[in-house]
Amino acid sequence: MDDELAISVRGLRKAYGDNLAVAGVDLDVHRGEVFALLGPNGAGKTTTVEILEGYRRRDAGEVRVLGADPAHPDSGWRSRVGIVLQGTGEFDELTVAEVVRHFAGFYPDADDPEKVIERVGLGAKARARTHTLSGGQKRRLDVALGIVGRPELLFLDEPTTGFDPEARREFWDLIRDLSAAGTTIVLTTHYLDEAEALADRVGVIAAGRVVEVAPPNRLGNRQEALATVSWRTPEGTPELAETATPTALVAELAARFGGEVPGLTVTRPTLEDVYLRMIGH
């Protein structure tokens, strides 16, 4: 097994009854990398991640996470893996500080709970009962519990759902911090901008298979894709051309119009365009 790999998956399969949720996934995540798993609901994202986290048993395939088989998690392995699940575990009657401190006690090399609370932006809420927190604040508490054990590998399942834009930016900074400190991060997300902003590589998963793995700016050959140039004719009719050489076309249009080209735009497929095509829309 390659020591450079935090996660290595070959031929992973998992069925629920007749429904094949994961139909042969191959995946490598390097140590220190931020890897985003992108896919529509029901594509097999959560099932895949929960197998990697040691929550679910697989039907077939080879899986190594931090050098061990997650189907048999021991406490040494658990203390190196941080998990932020989707909407779990409320401790209504306890305060933020009490919950974080309690979970810190499970780990051999836990971070300072107060520092972690500050870091996720809950400093002002440390003494508040958790049931008084807003949805976004509860999510921050989830993240605090995921990182308090100073994991080598951190799983985040749709971490910014329910965040306002400012909170989202702060969260992205936190992830960049963790990554800069060497933490390997695997996140699933619905938000393409999030994948684009954070991920070194993106894996697109659809119908239980990994369709493509690439850096976000190269997904679906985005860089090489034809550019679309659009403008208006002097009569006001919109015109549109797909070209591999948009600069030449714009120069030609500029010469033709003798200066400004009315309504000129040059675009390439967005990550969203590429993604929607990949998952079959």
Binding site: Y55, G76, S79, G89, G105, T183, D200
Partner: protein, 281 residues
Amino acid sequence: MTTTTKPAAPVAAARGRRPGGGALALRQGRLEITQFLRSRESVVFTMGFPVIMILIFAAIFSDEIAPGVSYTQYFITGMIATGLMTVSFQNLGIWIPIERDRGVLKRYRGTPMPKWVWFAGKVLMVVAIGIAETALLLAVSVALFDLTLPDTAARWLTFGWVAVLGVTACTLCGIAISSLARTARSGSAVVTPVALVLQFISGVFFVFTSLPSWMQQVAALFPLKWMCQGLRSVFLPDSFGAQEPGGSFELGRVALVLGLWCVIGLVLCLTTFRWTTKRDG
């Protein structure tokens, strides 16, 4: 964002040590007790209900059921047994499904906490609340209703082992029955009727021997009847033993049935306990 590898996280080299198993269990117990005491409904329901029942029933019925034994004394011993069942069987059977549904259990499973620590936390909570509850009932009964505390070491000893065996059986059955509830709310719908029916047929509200014999036989299959009978041997005069269905307090049989229920409960726990909800896999 084109590089795919960054410096790897420092591998577990100079890790500290987390508290040992015993300390973790104590911490977990303290957390459970804190959660219980801060949840007003559980405190009122668990601690208050038996006291209120004693006040009501003692005010309604005041006749003697045997020479030197008032109905109130008979009823109080039944309520002490009921109190022990409430803090263990009902408390766990109602709360565990809620925690499972909220994902609290799933979150614990994602940490390095050994599984048994969670169960130990619940047991410590049950024991602490059970002692407080019993002390409260005894104080109220001695102060207001002329209950006499056991006057020999042998009676205290009987009190001790009946309570321990009874609480153990009810705790295990409460954990086991928690797996029957499929949602957070159905826990109390599953547990409350069982507990209530047992109270009616086991000689808590009515003198056991006045019940139809088929009802007595059904009740004899379950722990509560035997807990009540064991506690009557502690608090009522020895002469009352002749009024019991078997012509004596049958302490040997009390121990046997409660012990059997401990075994049944343990087997059910080990075979049916779930950390996640069904829809969660």
